[in-house]
Amino acid sequence: MLRTLADMMNQDKRFAFGFTVMLILVALAFLSLFSPHDPRQWNVVPRDRPPSTQHLLGTTSTGQDVSWQATWAIRNTLLMSLIAMLSSRVLAIVIGLLAGYSGGTLDRILMTLTDSFVILPLLPILILVASILKQSLSVVNLGILLGAFGWAWDARLIRSQVLSLREREFTYTAILSGMSTPRIIFREYLPFIFPLITATAMNNMLWAIGMEVTLAVLGLVSLEVATLGTMIHWAVNSQSILLGMWWWILTPVVICIFIFIALYMLSLSINEILDPRLRVQRMTK
């Protein structure tokens, strides 16, 4: 396990970058356990101070320490996106495989469901739901909500991949040689679909974090919970850009950019490592 990891770090710079950044972020998230301040409380430190040895990343106009606040924000944001990713994966895989392979009526019913979720303009609807739930939209609830909405596109991708696989010759070979349906799906198709699943998983986490930022910026989540989105919300709404308090607005923005890039690099790299055709291609290069 450790050796594979070391191999991957050596082989692919993108994996090394993504993995290191995520490791650092997880470590920062754990630091929140030692935070001297409650992230919900205001005016615990002097306000509007630039970075110093006492407050590494300065303090905010609401009297909070930016660096400790950031550790809470990373923790909550990562947790939220993990919940969203796991719950939407289960839905996407089951529905995509079933619909693609079975075809016929079941396919049509499932795809009608998927299509309505794909076509439903998610942002406005999420905003509607969020403005109803607003105060109770904690980290876990938001994760589940995003998971419940974020599966459809990936299910459609998986299904269209299966549709195409079903028309290929090896499927007929498998059927004619008496392979059972579950075996065909799990032994023959899953290896083809697996890169898609992991890559979409990382992309789904990206999407969930982006959605959280959007909703928070519009002021539609529980604003006293520290997440990257709510940090940006407070910084933008307190005119930190005009006041020149760069340490406040840039901290969450830069962390966001790092998370986004790291997750994306991981998804690209995992995609390549898991897809044997690409691996061969890279080795011959």
Binding site: I132, I241, C256, I261, Y264
Partner: protein, 335 residues
């Protein structure tokens, strides 16, 4: 006509079902909101200090409920909703009473359509061509430079890109106007000057959309084409001495375009509701701004109108795409 019966009919049925599900959801979701629009309108009237006797208020409440389609139980409301929908009537807006929702949408739609259709198509073309070429010529210097740029830009959330561009090109180096669709106080007549002004205001939002869009299409296309590079027919074409440019465009990009067409149909449909962040950040006077204000004001009719249009547009996109799919990919057959 087996094609009509076996292929076309199910698809059209599905199309209608999709719209039915969407419309039903859209009807019920806003009605769960804690804001009561009738009460709000009444409060707006009474807050101005006018004294009204309770009977008049009750009468007014009844009239308003009728106008807003909020009369009777949920079932009766639902029926009225469909009756109005078939007439293309989304009712009056609650917040900007008594302007019909359709009028508000019609005023905002050209702004959104102009901005988003242009930037979506432009970034789709740019992203696919550049992405395909970068994957095909992956050993060249320019390809890896393009790839690194797209790889870093692609995952950054659109809101942050837009905010960054606004801070950079609106405040720090004030090249572009920071908000609005045209200069304040300008008369809206169709002259060269006004057109230029509109274009200038649209540039910054369009730029942000094209940057993000191009990087997205670029990365998917690069992945798709590099997956194709090991395929036998590409290797065979190379061995057979087909010119590189021809292989890149006619063999690789053309085959990889299939999922991208799916994406384009969907992203064109998303336009109706999808401009929310762009228009909020740049204060651009389109559907997104209208939608945002309607949500803040608890304006059911307007919200439903915009979201419904969006559902219909995107369902139509999916239908067209489904019909074109077998023509594009002969491997997929529906029979």
């Amino acid at each position: 006509m087996p094609f009509l019966k076996k292929y076309l009919l199910p698809r059209i049925v599905q199309y209608l079902v999709v719209i039915l599900i969407g419309a039903t959801l859209i009807f019920f979701v806003p009605r769960l909101m804690p804001v009561d629009p009738v009460q709000q309108t009444l409060e707006k009237i009474t807050i101005q200090g006018a004294f009204l006797d309770p009977d008049a208020i009750e009468q007014m409440r009844a009239t308003l409920q009728d106008l807003y389609g909020l009369k009777g139980g949920l079932g009766a409301q639902y029926l009225t909703f469909w009756k109005r929908l078939f007439k293309g009537d989304f009712g009056p807006s609650f917040a900007q009473f008594p302007t019909p929702v359709m009028t508000l949408i019609k005023t905002s739609l050209p702004w959104t359509l102009g901005l988003l259709v242009t930037s979506t198509l432009l970034s789709w073309l740019l992203g696919n061509i550049l992405g395909g070429l970068a994957a095909y010529y992956h050993e060249r210097k320019w390809a890896s430079v393009l790839e690194s740029i797209a790889m870093v830009m692609r995952p950054i959330h659109y809101y942050i890109v837009a905010l960054g561009l606004l801070m950079l090109l609106g405040y720090a180096i004030p090249l572009f106007p920071i908000s609005g669709g045209f200069s304040i106080g300008r008369k809206f007549i169709l002259t060269w000057d006004v057109m230029l002004d509109i274009l200038k205001h649209a540039l910054l939002p369009a730029l942000s959309l094209v940057i993000v869009g191009t990087c997205t299409w670029f990365m998917t296309m690069r992945l798709l084409v590099s997956n194709l590079m090991a395929e036998d027919y590409i290797v065979y074409a190379q061995v057979a001495g087909v010119p590189d440019g021809e292989i890149a465009f006619k063999y690789a990009i053309r085959n990889a375009l299939l999922p991208q067409v799916t994406g384009l149909a969907l992203s064109l449909g998303q336009i109706f509701g999808g401009a929310l962040i762009t228009e909020t950040v740049f204060a651009y006077p389109g559907l997104g701004t209208l939608l945002y204000s309607s949500i803040n004001a608890g304006d059911y009719n307007l919200m439903m109108g915009i979201t419904l249009l969006s559902v219909i547009a995107i369902a139509t996109g999916v239908l067209i795409m489904d019909l074109v799919y077998p023509l594009l990919d002969p491997r997929i057959r529906y029979d």
